[in-house]
Symmetry: C2
Subunit: 485 residues, 2 copies
Amino acid sequence: MGINSLDSDTSGASEQPGQANPFAPSEVLAALSLRCVECTTLYPGFEAMPRYRCECGGVLDVETPFQLPAARRASPAVVVSGRESDVIPLAGAAWRQLFDERACTPPIWSLSPVTLLPDRSGVWRYRELILPVPETAIVSRPEGNTGLYPVGLENCDESRVGHRQIGMFAGIERLFLKHEGENPTGSFKDRGMTVGVTMARLRGARAVACASTGNTSASLASYAAQAGMQGIVFLPAGQIAGGKLAQSLAYGATTVQIKGDFDAAMQLVEQVCNEMGIYLLNSLNPFRVEGQKAIGLEILQQLDWQAPDWLVLPAGNLGNTSAIGKAFRQAHQLGLINHLPRIASIQAAGANPFYRSFQQQFARRERVHAQTVASAIKIGDPVSYARARRVIEESNGLVEEVTDEEILVAKTVIDRSGLGCEPASAAALAGVKKLAARGIIRRDERVVAVLTGHLLKDSSTGIPQSVSEQAIEPTLDAVKRALKL
Amino acid sequence: MGINSLDSDTSGASEQPGQANPFAPSEVLAALSLRCVECTTLYPGFEAMPRYRCECGGVLDVETPFQLPAARRASPAVVVSGRESDVIPLAGAAWRQLFDERACTPPIWSLSPVTLLPDRSGVWRYRELILPVPETAIVSRPEGNTGLYPVGLENCDESRVGHRQIGMFAGIERLFLKHEGENPTGSFKDRGMTVGVTMARLRGARAVACASTGNTSASLASYAAQAGMQGIVFLPAGQIAGGKLAQSLAYGATTVQIKGDFDAAMQLVEQVCNEMGIYLLNSLNPFRVEGQKAIGLEILQQLDWQAPDWLVLPAGNLGNTSAIGKAFRQAHQLGLINHLPRIASIQAAGANPFYRSFQQQFARRERVHAQTVASAIKIGDPVSYARARRVIEESNGLVEEVTDEEILVAKTVIDRSGLGCEPASAAALAGVKKLAARGIIRRDERVVAVLTGHLLKDSSTGIPQSVSEQAIEPTLDAVKRALKL
């Protein structure tokens, strides 16, 4: 545990491809590719040294060959490549049946995890579309299976009358909130991290690292600990939010403070990982995006494969926009759904580079100095810009901005409904309201908004902090007066 | 929302039995009974005014008639009463089949919640054994379906090698942790609260109240908000832990500070609820205990109905000891399982009245001035003493105490495994270790320990609070030195 596992490593390299690795890359893994989203250069998905960037500096996108399990394949076997150019649209029925059967796995935890656990995960249930790895290699909590709450004016029954306040606020009849705060560490990051740490294990990595002060570091720390790896978190000195770190520290991640700002820490962690054989699990890592695709796939399954009209989500580093958009695109190609939802990415007005680019038809990639109360989307130069731009363009989507005030009002509505969320999540609802008011989202369209984190992730921002200063006498009359009865 | 709903209520009574209530008590509800655990007096389960205590002052225990759904009943129909004296042991196969089929409900959220939602809840899936109410009355998030993590030396596979540190610490081969922190508001309280708020709705209550500064108030606030009721939380003035209240305040509960200590607030809330027609959802409420039974039922189902040898849990107000013990007893009576697990209740040494009573064969009910870092079990005079005493006696169980130091050491082990928990939860693991070391729990016995709350519930106690004071230069050499590479 902790740093001790490195002390005994005299070579200084925690990833040791030369040593016996029980998970030699399978044929399927060998068929993975990484494509540069800038210059389209293609690389093998599994090289001796992990690759996080194209030679041109562009970020990479995983291309997965999709293959039904042998027993379910029509004969002759049909393999559908993930490459857009040569996809053969298949009837999605076989895929839907596969995923639906897996979702009905008995809730038994005492049997072999090898056979049952991947099906119970809201990520690995879709493993043929996420990362086709040997099931014994999977590091899963499990994660996912988060609620898709009906909160619209029409789709919310009497037992959720409080939730309906959200639909009333937004002015939407059939609105759903997908609550990713119900993942094990309290945010959607667990979906990408289970895939990222599984990939680290496949590579024989003994340490994984990221530069982050928020949800990513918490998730990394938890999954690394489960897998027996050292988790390393790089922090910009003096910009550490104490409470946000509690999870990473509790889960035992090694914490390194770097003189400089967040960008400096980001650059350094990339350099350190490359030179020291530590596996990098920043959002740069293309396999994390594959795991986050499962948010989109699970939404579709929870809607019985009836794609919504709109998917609205908070947008910072643009990993979720990229991942959910990619999931919808692939689901459409495979025939799992019959139309593509429109994707609306909502940025905070003080951290709106993607919105600025969208305003000029993506003529220019913008960068800003980010400032917003929604810390999880306080990002001025989003890593997944190119991936997300494609998603907006091909889904006939859009990018909107909302002010901090609008975010906090929306958060109060979500909190007071009894659902609750962290501040950045509320940007999605603020965006739905704004787009509905402007007639862009129609009142009768089916809309899913994504909440990315649990209320407990940030117990100060946008929450009433003080209770009445006046303590009352312990008498019934005093209570009646206090309750205005 | 909030207090406004009361402003318009000129009668001053928020529960109005005279008004039209869509949920008139069904035949089954009318068959419920409440029995005093002290003097065994029997009351109807559903009177015009809710009853929380026996005339003798004793707490009440729900007696439920158990009845399989009509389609599954053997002919002639067999009704098994929950009253101990006249239970007919039935083959449990029909019950197991019912619950297993419900657990395999498709994960679809777009259809009518009336038919699908109760099956998806880890409480209402067992509704015939919990509270037989009309399904349309149920107020559910849904809750439950929490993980049962294999963490023992033998039952933990390579993908959970970090979790196995817990088994190593405890010295147990087949150890499971049931993580109730994975409930919607982050604690096991949601299981009792979904039943309590459902009962409030059946009664037509418009407000619900409790005296609590912790997990109960968070859960009450969330479920009351969902159901459109006013949540009221009574607090002892000056004893408010700010962070712990964030959830209740965010979910919009009305907060009343009372001059006096926690016991004064407890007494007042009971008086206020009785006189003002507010439904009381303290642990005094017998229906909350029924909901918490689902922790035990879900553990049994997750173990494929193979009862464990031991169930070990943190013990404060003794609601969980009572509830899980009752669930096991009833499951045994119905033939769902073939033996009763032994129950070990673990108290903090500074809040150990139940342990003190156990030491003298329960000759005397003890009360103490509670003092422990594990705030969720910091209780000197547990409400459910009599219920829990019966559980310990009939399960051949025991009560143990652990020091705050032992609790914090166990918490660090759980946190560093990547699972994490709030401090009180760790008392269970500390207890397993102590009982294993003394040979009372054998190394090869099958043991389930209950974690009651999420790590995020308390982000300060027992977590390293500071990172290295020394920020380093952003260079590879400096990082290598910092990581001791």
